[in-house]
């Protein structure tokens, strides 16, 4: 009983200083293992705890982290990384080249969800304790960009705790515990309820934040999260429901931080001949590029952004946003809205009189269902009949994999922040062996694009690389492989005294947060 009352007194006596920071997220990171799940909630959170050889700065540029410098080896045989000396993990162990080798083996293993990052890697060689060579099968100019989220784990810690490989199904020690080199360490973790972080005293970097304790609580209900922010129970929420932005802007106690995400929302089409055996919609209606162009011209994207996104998003012209490396300036013009042209194109292509089966998620992207409804009525105005089927994302992906669609909505955020990424996943001809086109549900295929992709991947000269990216962007635009609609907005909410930095990857980086 005495112990209980002491505990009680302690709980009641906890001081509430300004540097204690509480924030709410919609999705709890499902694991603390940086190699087990490659998703924004997991990697975004763990970027505060673990670090990679390189990291992204406030403007998304690549900067040194656990590597102090790197350079290409020979004629593009690989990359040599010089490691930072004197870095310690949160349990006190020293960071050396062995941990890099171990983290490579772990993150590229079959059990990991990050193995695609290492597809170009042939081997990783320890030169000395603080030098590592990463050899690639072909020259790979953007390799350092592609590993910003490859986080270093201590080999000794992982092996001692039986977590030498990630375990997605059963979970292991690393699923619940973390031991990185980053500026914050996990002091308590109750999955789904609360995760508490404290600054890592031995961190190598210069401390910019003034936080002493950070608590992350997942709150799924947007109205509850908003109420928690307004009442001061939390200092930060992500996202703020778009329809509440205007109301919050009139409140002096909170502020809204808006930007655009790296994610481009687009329409995809079933372009495989004879693939409509599902019985939904007519056969092969989008094999003809004129049919896809009809859709592109029938949609008034600025009107959608004005009404549904309340002016918070940008029209997209290609599969990446202008902030990405390799964005094609030469093809920055979006499809022009022209309902009349759309109507005659639809007639020429034989779309008129058929019902387009349009699949759409209703809990994946911001206001996704409302956007799909708007598209449905815009297509109707141009003489195209659409049957819209909106569903939760858990049902959505199986539906797309089963080819049960004529047209669908997709958002794509390039993990490498490079224009090559969506080409590899969305535009390349599906090839399971080569791990290409794994999200190319509609079966788009163009021999020239397939030919250009490996050349883009291995071109070292920036100008030549951009020329090839431009060519690809032109082909995709001319053939209307996808109809890019807009770049999704990012809307964060914070108490007025909170200073922070918003990045287009939607990562909330705590070391840039100060509370006044």
């Amino acid at each position: 009983m005495r112990r209980l009352s002491t505990a009680l007194a302690l709980v009641l006596a906890l001081p509430a200083t300004a540097e204690e920071f509480n924030f709410a997220v919609t999705t709890d990171p499902q694991t603390m293992d940086p190699h087990a799940v490659n998703s924004t909630p997991v990697l975004g959170f763990l970027n505060n705890v673990y670090e990679g050889l390189v990291r992204r700065g406030k403007d998304m540029s690549i900067e040194p982290a656990l590597a102090v410098s790197w350079e290409p080896i020979g004629e593009g045989e690989g990359w040599r990384f010089k490691l930072r000396e004197g870095v310690t993990f949160q349990d006190g162990a020293e960071f050396t080249a062995d941990d890099v080798i171990f983290s490579y083996e772990r993150a590229s293993s079959e059990q990991a969800d990050t193995s695609s990052w290492f597809a170009p890697v042939s081997e990783v060689v320890k030169v000395d304790d603080y030098t590592v060579d990463i050899m690639t099968t072909a020259p790979n100019p953007i390799f350092p960009d592609s590993i910003a989220n490859w986080m270093m784990m201590d080999s000794g810690w992982a092996e001692a705790n039986g977590a030498a490989r990630p375990d997605k199904e059963q979970g292991n020690y690393a699923t619940l515990n973390a031991n990185g080199t980053g500026p914050f360490q996990v002091v308590s973790r109750q999955p789904d309820l609360e995760t508490v972080l404290e600054p890592h005293e031995g961190w190598w970097g210069e401390v910019e934040h003034n936080l002493t304790r950070v608590t992350m609580t997942p709150i799924q209900n947007p109205a509850t999260a908003l109420a928690a922010l307004l009442s001061g129970d939390v200092d930060f929420i992500n996202p703020v429901p778009i329809q509440d932005v205007a109301r919050l802007e009139g409140n002096p106690e909170v502020r809204v931080i808006q930007g655009i995400e790296a994610r481009v929302i687009m329409l995809g089409f079933d372009q495989q001949e004879g693939a409509a055996e599902s019985g939904q919609g007519g056969a092969d209606m989008f094999v003809d590029p004129r049919a896809r162009e009809a859709v592109a011209k029938a949609i008034n994207v600025p009107a959608i952004l004005q009404t549904i996104m309340r002016g918070n998003a940008e029209v997209a012209s290609q599969m990446v946003s202008p902030a990405m490396r390799g964005y094609s300036e030469a093809h920055a013009a979006p499809y022009a809205y022209d309902a009349e042209a759309a109507r005659s194109l639809a007639e020429e292509a034989g779309l008129t009189g058929q019902t387009i089966a349009f699949k759409c998620p209703n809990d994946r992207y911001l206001n996704d269902e409302a956007v799909c409804q708007a598209i449905t009525s815009m297509l109707a105005q141009a003489g195209m009949e659409v049957s819209l089927d909106a569903m939760p994302v858990s049902n959505y992906w199986p539906e797309l994999r089963a080819d049960n669609f004529d047209m669908y909505l997709l958002g794509w955020s390039p993990g490498t922040f490079d224009a090559e990424h969506p080409i590899r996943f969305l535009a390349a001809t599906q090839d399971d062996e080569a791990k290409l086109g794994s999200w190319n549900f509609g079966g788009y295929s163009n021999a020239r694009v397939d030919e250009l992709l490996p050349m883009i991947q291995s071109e070292i000269d920036d100008t030549a690389r951009q020329a090839m990216l431009d060519e690809t962007a032109k082909i995709l635009q001319d053939e209307v492989a996808y109809v890019p609609l807009y770049v999704q907005p990012l809307v964060w909410g914070a108490r007025s005294g909170v200073e922070l930095t918003q990045r287009p990857d939607d990562f909330f980086i705590l070391r840039w947060v100060t509370v006044n």
């Binding site: 969800d113 609580t217 209900n221 858990s394």
Partner: protein, 322 residues
């Protein structure tokens, strides 16, 4: 008597098995968990491999059989979302739901009976009529709306009570309780009212109509004629006779308080099993959904079984019929 109980228990087990079968056949429609477990750079191979490892490529009957096989040994599997044993997660979450249900149950019973008696005794008074009209709100407004309204009033506008969560808890050997801290008690207020309001108005209206019925009986008139005080007549004679049907209803409502907790827990981000279940549905976390549904059906079937057996003790005619 023994054969009656054996028969009832047998029927209960059959009901449980059928509930489980229906639940497992529904999981196919909730969606596919694989996409939630893998990131966007997964390959089709990864998807197939994981599906095989989890046994999701098998028909639902086989999945159900495997679940039962493990469940009878006390193993409810590992959550897809959290990578932890489901039994561990459920035990961790149960105290939150049970404490919330207990507090809102007590709130509903005490206030419901008191207001019911009051409105029955003063059935023409202004206060009683006001309470009766106001109680319509409790019956007709949906739970989530009441919750949001309370949050906006007491957390956002007035700043008196927390807008979400359970506050600080104290761990008593595996049972986390919010009863022992100030913030834990404060955090209980709004969710308990939200969850208990409907039950409270239900009990109040029931007590009122039963009480009015009883007050018209001859023995009450005789008691009054004997010159007994109003207090004795109302509380010793009338209320006692009112309570029989009320207690039956309260017993039946016990289960639904726990089941209705799902909505309240979602609105208040209350870390109980209901919230766990909602999150599990979104993620298609089949082991958690299965265990939760089995747990809830065991609870309902158990309560019913107990009631049936009790009735049989009380009423010998049931025994004969069986």
């Amino acid at each position: 008597m023994l054969s009656f109980i054996v028969k009832r228990v047998g029927q209960s087990i059959l009901v449980l098995l059928i509930t489980g079968l229906v639940a497992f056949s529904m999981f196919t429609f909730v969606g596919d968990p694989i996409d939630n477990m893998l990131g966007q750079e997964r390959t089709i191979e990864d998807v197939e491999r994981l599906r095989q490892q989890l046994g999701l490529d098998k028909p639902f009957v086989v999945q159900y059989y495997r679940f039962l096989e493990q469940a009878v040994q006390g193993n409810f599997g590992v959550s897809y979302r959290q990578g932890r044993p489901v039994a561990e997660i459920l035990l961790e979450r149960a105290p939150a739901t049970l404490e919330l249900a207990a507090v809102s149950g007590i709130f509903a019973i005490l206030l419901g009976i008191a207001l019911g008696v009051f409105t029955a005794i003063r059935r023409n008074g202004i206060a009683a009529n006001l309470i009766m009209s106001a109680s319509l709100i409790g019956v007709s407004l949906p739970t989530f709306l009441i919750g949001i309204l309370l949050i906006y009033l007491f957390s956002v506008e007035l700043g008196w009570l927390p807008s979400f969560g359970r506050g600080d808890t104290v761990d008593l050997g595996g049972w986390t309780t919010g009863f022992l801290t100030a913030s834990g008690l404060k955090a209980l207020i709004l969710p308990s009212i939200t969850l208990g309001l409907y039950q409270m108005t239900l009990i109040m209206r029931l007590v009122r109509s039963e009480m009015l019925e009883v007050l018209r009986q001859d023995y009450i008139r005789f008691a009054k004629a004997r010159g007994l005080s109003d207090r004795v007549v109302n509380f010793r004679h009338a209320l006692k006779n009112t309570m029989v049907p009320v207690i039956t209803v309260i017993g039946l409502q016990l289960g639904s308080i726990i089941a209705f907790a799902i909505i309240t827990e979602t609105v208040f981000q209350w870390p109980g099993v209901g919230l766990l279940f909602i999150n599990a549905i979104q993620f298609v976390d089949i082991p958690v959904m299965a265990a939760y549904l089995m747990l809830i059906s065991v609870m309902f079937v158990g309560i019913n079984l107990l009631v049936d057996i009790l009735y049989a003790f009380i009423d010998p005619r049931l025994r004969v019929a069986a």
